[in-house]
């Protein structure tokens, strides 16, 4: 009896060891659903974008995403969730730049640019300078000239504080220290658009995705991009007008720092495939999301350059904590 049991036991033990050891190295990733952390509310712009991505993720990968919404405090709550998750490849999430940079520099966030492994950049939403269609201003230069003559008279609406819009305003102030605009902060893009429509402010800096919501009523004077934007092909960039400002908001996907190299490579490869899928490109255009793909390394390099630039801007403005 005892002897009889030894062999099966040995065999079972070997089998168990093999089972434990072998799949650990060769297991297919992913073999279970992946948590996708969204730091904003369901149905918001970030959610809509991620849902479009999911549609094409399902085309290439068997395991789906499970959406986890962690909204609050301008994204800090959700971004922290991603940074603090176990880097096993089963929690990834959407980040926004410059939000994460600003939050770590000025709002005592518990993460910084080093807390993430970057998968890809998927959206580059440049800031625009917009006025009402009925406005007397026909170009940004006219606003600048007017504000030089009448300091503080011209009112500019910004989403903020400590946002991409605010940074563009700081950059503008640095470039034109003698031009005084009165800035008014709004909680979100909808409030900012309403203020421009109601005439509470004379101009706004706003993202394309947001400005497009009321595009019938707005005249977009310039885009703060490196090149013209496909949504507004007739609008010149600020650089074309010899105003050297490039400012935008980027949507990025990332995992917590320390992801195994093979999993990170798989995610980066899959996101690349999604971003080059013609169906995805068409869906993004329909939803008003200015798609622009950057691979993980380029994204990381970009974020570090933003961090250096924003640190200097905030320091000059006395906003560095």
């Amino acid at each position: 009896m005892k002897f009889k049991a030894v062999f099966p036991c040995l065999f079972l033990a070997l089998a168990l060891i093999a089972a434990a050891a072998f799949p650990a190295t060769a297991a297919k990733y992913p073999d279970k659903p992946i948590n996708m952390v969204i730091a904003f509310t369901a149905g918001g712009s970030s959610d809509v974008q991620a849902r479009i991505m999911q549609k094409y993720w399902n085309k290439y990968v068997e395991e789906p995403w499970v959406f986890v919404y962690k909204p609050g405090a301008g994204g800090i709550i959700g971004f922290t969730e991603i940074a603090k998750a176990t880097p096993d490849g089963y929690t990834i999430g959407g980040l926004n730049v410059p939000h994460i940079v600003l939050q770590s520099l000025a709002q005592r966030a518990a993460f910084n640019a080093e807390s993430f492994d970057y998968i890809a950049q998927v959206v580059n939403d440049p800031q625009c300078v917009a006025v009402l269609k009925s406005s007397k201003y026909k170009s940004f230069q006219e606003i600048i000239d007017d504000a030089k003559v009448h300091p503080n008279k011209v009112k500019i609406g910004l989403v903020g504080p400590l946002s991409g819009h605010h940074l563009m305003f700081l950059e503008f102030n640095k470039l034109y220290p003698d031009v005084k605009l009165s800035r008014v902060f709004y909680k979100g893009a909808a409030d900012q658009n309403a203020a421009l429509l109601g005439g509470e402010v004379d101009l706004i800096f706003g993202n394309i995705n947001d400005v497009m919501r009321s595009i019938d009523e707005f005249r977009v004077l310039n885009v703060a991009g490196e090149k013209r934007n496909a949504f507004l092909p007739d609008v010149p960039t600020l650089r074309e007008q010899h105003i050297d400002i490039v400012s935008d908001i980027r949507r990025i996907f990332a995992a917590p720092k320390g992801l195994p190299a093979d999993k990170l490579a798989f995610l980066r490869e899959t996101f690349k495939k999604i971003c080059n899928d013609p169906g995805y490109v068409a869906d993004m255009k329909k939803a008003g999301q200015p798609a622009e793909y950057l691979d993980g390394d380029a994204t990381a390099a970009f974020i570090h350059s933003v961090e250096a630039r924003d640190k200097a801007l905030l320091k000059d403005a006395g906003l560095l904590k």
Binding site: V48, Y69, I77, D191, L197, G198, E200, R213
Partner: protein, 530 residues
């Protein structure tokens, strides 16, 4: 401002779209979506914590698989159902299912305690449908003009509007204004936790990372109203929540009472609801409270409010459903949502590639009018569907109190957690449950505290805008605050509102004098709360 020449606000060829839109509506799929959306919405709304915003947001991805008009019809039906559904739990267990239903508890719950839950439920059903239809009426006929008007509400106007809302504390707790003000002030203080909206730095977080997002309104209200209600219920020696003795013919009697005696109240509350709904930032939770207080202010006998009067339920419920039509006006015409739910629906529209704007009524007119007509249909369909569902929900009163109490606690936790998947929100529910319970024992007013928590962030945000704008005019802050005509009207309304308890007191005194004219008034009480 805004006097510059805008293109004429025409409703281009609305008639052309009527027939195809109505044909779209009688499509069996759309009818089914309306019925399912309504029923689902009512249930979501009735569950404390699962709010209208969440219900609609959860269904947005499902619309990606539908054609845009069916998707919109369904989202609209959920919105209407959920706002109405919130009143059911407000009436039955004194727990507003959605924040919009806070004011419904003031009179709905006393009615239930008196054993007249059926009257309260039917009142809220019929008033909701009435308010909803008034709101959609304005959406259909006056969207363009009203959207322009709503835009006149900038920082200063919204600041005064919020203060006006806050001043209702004075009317809410006339006998006990001191404690009402303290409760409201505590609420305001609580709302300052989190990131400062004007400087962007955290405050009062005591180093705790979770507090950085502040105390969310919904978990706080679940605590103040539902959880404290559980503590109150298990403290009583009753076996059931309240007696429930439905009498035949109540529905007809309620309908006749509303049509006969409450016409003015219903109409005024619906207009207030539509108007507040149009304003970006202000939603149903404020509209229903303002409407309730206006009804009380102008009533012949204000003292019956709060003791279970049909008028109170009718004004709160008609106002919060009228908000729906109002909030869709700036959303469709300008791309600016008038409420949190409208913002979610806007997101769904944009995801379908539909551009909001005045052109929506011509370029995608069939879709726009299908949606608007579906709102009429939904409000009418709500009467039979709501009737069936509210009778089922009233069965709750026949369950043993202990089961109901356990059920409320479970739902409160789920609802609070589901908002942002944060355990902190569950602690908020527990803490505010005790605050509400013991505060109530001390005579504190949970309604005032909730008002402070809701309005605090809006007051602060708009004050910040005023301070920013003050740099641009020579007169500084005072001239910004009082410059526009709307601001002046609101300041006058605010003054009137603050004087109301005094005026009501005078009215009562005069009545007393009339009844006992010969007796001298040497026991006239002092009044220092003018």
């Amino acid at each position: 401002m805004g006097a510059t020449a805008h293109p004429a606000l025409k409703e281009p060829h609305m008639t052309e779209f009527i027939i195809p839109s109505l044909l779209n509506l009688i499509d069996p799929l759309n009818i089914a979506l309306m019925v399912i959306g309504l029923a689902g919405g009512i249930i979501i709304g009735a569950l404390p914590g699962l709010s209208a915003t969440m219900g609609v947001a959860l269904m947005v991805p499902a619309t990606f698989a539908m054609d845009p008009s069916s998707g919109l019809v369904m989202l609209g039906a959920i919105y209407v159902g959920a706002i109405y559904g919130g009143s059911n739990s407000a009436v039955l267990i004194c727990t507003p299912g959605t924040p919009s239903a806070v004011a419904t508890t003031f009179d709905g719950w006393p009615l239930t305690q008196r054993g007249e839950a059926d009257t309260a439920l039917y009142t809220s059903l019929l008033s909701s449908a009435f308010g909803g239809i008034v709101g959609v009426f304005f959406l259909l006929f006056l969207a363009g003009a009203l959207a322009r008007f709503a835009l006149q509400f900038g920082g200063p106007e919204n600041f005064w509007l919020c203060l006006f809302g806050l001043s209702t504390i004075a009317v809410m707790s006339p006998g006990n204004m001191g404690k009402g003000i303290v409760s409201g002030a505590i609420g305001l203080l609580i709302s300052t936790i989190g990131i400062d909206p004007n400087a962007g730095v955290p405050r009062f977080t005591f180093g705790s990372y979770s507090l950085i997002q502040g105390i969310s309104v919904i978990p706080c209200m679940i605590g103040l109203f539902s959880f404290s209600q559980v503590l109150f219920l298990i403290g009583t020696d009753k076996t059931f929540v309240a007696d429930y003795n439905p009498r035949p013919g109540t529905f007809k009697r309620t309908a006749a009472y509303l049509a006969g005696r409450c016409k003015k109240i219903l109409l005024r509350s619906s207009l207030i609801g539509t108007w507040v709904g149009m304003l970006p930032g202000a939603g149903g939770e404020i509209a229903s409270i303002i409407a309730y207080n206006e009804s009380k202010r102008w009533a012949k006998n204000p003292s019956v409010y709060g003791t279970g009067c049909i008028e109170g339920v009718a004004s709160s419920e008609s106002a919060n459903n009228a908000v729906i039509g109002g909030s869709l006006i700036p959303m469709l015409t300008l791309g600016i949502p008038g409420s949190a739910v409208a913002a979610v629906i806007l997101g769904a529209l944009m995801a379908h590639g539909i551009q909001p704007g005045f052109k929506i009524f011509s370029a995608t007119g069939e879709l726009a009018y299908t949606f608007i007509f579906s709102q009429f249909a939904v409000n009418l369909l709500m009467i039979p569907i709501g009737f069936v569902l509210c009778r089922c929900m009233a069965k709750l009163l026949t369950l043993r109190l202990t089961f109901v109490a356990i059920g409320i606690v479970v739902l409160s936790y789920i609802g609070a957690y589901a908002i942002s998947n944060s355990l902190l929100d569950i602690w908020v529910v527990v803490v505010f449950g005790f605050v509400g319970f013991f505060g109530g024992k001390l005579g504190m007013d949970t309604g005032s505290m909730a008002l402070g928590v809701i309005l605090g962030p809006m007051i602060e945000e708009n004050l910040g805008k005023c301070l920013d704008l003050a740099h641009s005019v020579p007169g500084g802050l005072p001239s910004i605050m009082l410059d526009s005509g709307i601001s002046k009207v609101l300041v006058a309304a605010l003054a009137l509102s603050l004087a109301t308890p005094y005026l009501l007191h005078l009215k009562k005194l005069r009545a007393q004098e009339r009844s006992a004219r010969c007796r001298c008034a040497d026991e006239r009480p002092e009044n220092e709360n003018a």
